[in-house]
């Protein structure tokens, strides 16, 4: 299990591994928003929580199809399925590796991008906390979607269509936590909901992903 995680992280940071793709997308997306909507700080201040969460979500979505597709193409997935590792464990490790290479850097970078969007001061701790709590759900849901579409050539479109509706609750509660924080209100309720979504997806979806992989490997 640890071997699989370190291999996946190793592959991600080597040339062509796609590490930084989500991060660069998040950076570009947020940096371009002020040019698109105009530099009035009043408007940016209002939309910043939603934009930051939307950027993080789309950045996660961008790298989802790599989770299983590369292992499927080179035959490693067949070999992993016949190995002593349970497929549920493989799916959970893949989700964890995706979160470490995509979600975690987004959490770390988000305060800087908050500055670009003139996010109000009290919102920063909520922004970091909500992304740290919410992005594991994005990786878990995304891994399930990737497992469903693994055998499909150019499955990225179908994957996005499947996963986007499942991302909506996470987006709503995540953005709400940040905007309540920005307004100086208590945001523990949306944060608790976000935590609930993450715990539920992390606990159940690796099993669903493993079942989907078994069907797709037939």
């Amino acid at each position: 299990m640890i071997g699989l995680l370190s291999r996946d992280l190793n592959l991600a940071i080597r040339a062509g591994g796609g590490f930084g793709l989500g991060l660069a997308f998040f950076l570009i997306f947020t940096a371009l928003v002020p040019f698109g909507v105009g530099p009035e700080t009043g408007i940016l201040r209002i939309i910043a929580p939603g934009i930051l969460w939307l950027g993080a979500l789309l950045a996660c979505l961008l790298s989802l199809d790599r989770i299983f597709q590369l292992d499927w193409e080179d035959g490693s997935l067949d070999l992993l399925a016949t190995s002593p590792l349970p497929l549920e464990g493989v799916a959970a490790i893949k989700a964890l590796a995706h979160w470490i290479t995509t979600g975690l850097p987004l959490v770390a970078l988000s305060p800087i991008l908050g500055l670009l969007l003139n996010l109000p001061g009290p919102a920063y701790p909520w922004l970091v906390a909500s992304l740290a709590i919410g992005t594991p759900a994005l990786s878990a849901i995304g891994t399930f979607g990737a497992a469903l579409t693994v055998g499909i050539k150019r499955g990225g479109l179908l994957l996005s269509l499947l996963v986007l509706p499942l991302y909506v609750p996470t987006l709503i509660f995540g953005a709400m936590a940040v905007s309540r924080g920005a307004a100086g209100l208590d945001a523990t309720t949306p944060l608790a909901m976000l935590g609930g979504i993450t715990l539920a997806t992390v606990a159940t979806l690796p099993f669903a992903a493993a079942a989907a992989l078994r069907v797709n490997l037939r």
């Binding site: 640890i2 071997g3 699989l4 291999r7 190793n10 592959l11 080597r14 040339a15 062509g16 591994g17 193409e73 080179d74 035959g75 490693s76 067949d78 070999l79 992993l80 399925a81 016949t82 190995s83 002593p84 590792l85 490997l217 037939r218």
Partner: protein, 207 residues
């Protein structure tokens, strides 16, 4: 008997490919599967490996005994030869890659990236993986593709050593490996191509 197969029916997707397959493989024995292209050798091996559930029949084998090697090499091109092997050794809980490296003459290539190897060298690395699995029953699908004669002999020697060590092997191949205690099985009589009776989409797909 290390592996016993009775009345096995195998399917690939919506199509049933084989039915009534029965054979037994004893310890120290190799079974060579023959059959024309498309006759179902790969389907049979994937069913034995547990990737595809059988439609009918029984496979009797110790749990976690089968090591499968398919057409794809299953290598990561940005990892080097040693890293590729070490990863699989870790997954299968065996810790030395040295015997596998020696058996397939990979010592000189250990630091090369798998992506920079020739097709034959990749194949050798992928076959060396079988040795680090430590599993007794090998299910091999066209293992000698892109190997030259010297390396086919090296592969045959590795299979021979595996059989002498109490293992067994089921190998789909079109060439003669020169294994002394090998039996061959022609799967042509078991071919039963039809749409699966239990497939709800079968009618629509072939209408």
């Amino acid at each position: 008997m290390q592996l016993v197969v009775e009345h096995l029916a195998c399917a690939r997707g919506a199509a049933q490919i084989l039915s009534g397959v029965g054979f037994a493989v004893a310890t120290g024995e190799a079974l060579i599967l023959h059959g024309p292209n498309g006759s179902g050798k790969t389907t049979l091996l994937r069913t034995l490996a547990g990737l595809t559930p059988p439609l009918d029949g029984r496979i009797t084998c110790a749990p976690d005994a089968i090591a499968y090697a398919g057409h794809a090499d299953g290598l990561k091109s940005s990892l080097n030869v040693a890293e590729n092997l070490t990863f699989w050794a870790g997954v299968f809980g065996t810790h030395s890659i040295a015997p596998a490296v020696a058996a397939f003459d990979l010592t000189a290539l250990l630091d090369r990236k798998a992506g920079e190897l020739s097709a034959g060298q990749k194949r050798r690395l992928s076959l060396a993986r079988l040795l680090v699995t430590g599993r007794p029953v090998w299910c091999l699908d066209e293992p000698t593709v892109s190997l030259d004669t010297a390396n086919v002999a090296r592969f045959a020697a590795a299979v021979q050593a595996h059989l002498a060590d109490g293992g067994s092997a089921i190998i789909a191949t079109h060439i003669d490996l020169g294994l002394p205690n090998a039996r061959s099985l022609d799967i042509t009589p078991f071919v039963a191509k039809r749409i699966r009776a239990d497939d709800p989409f079968g009618d629509e797909a072939f209408a």
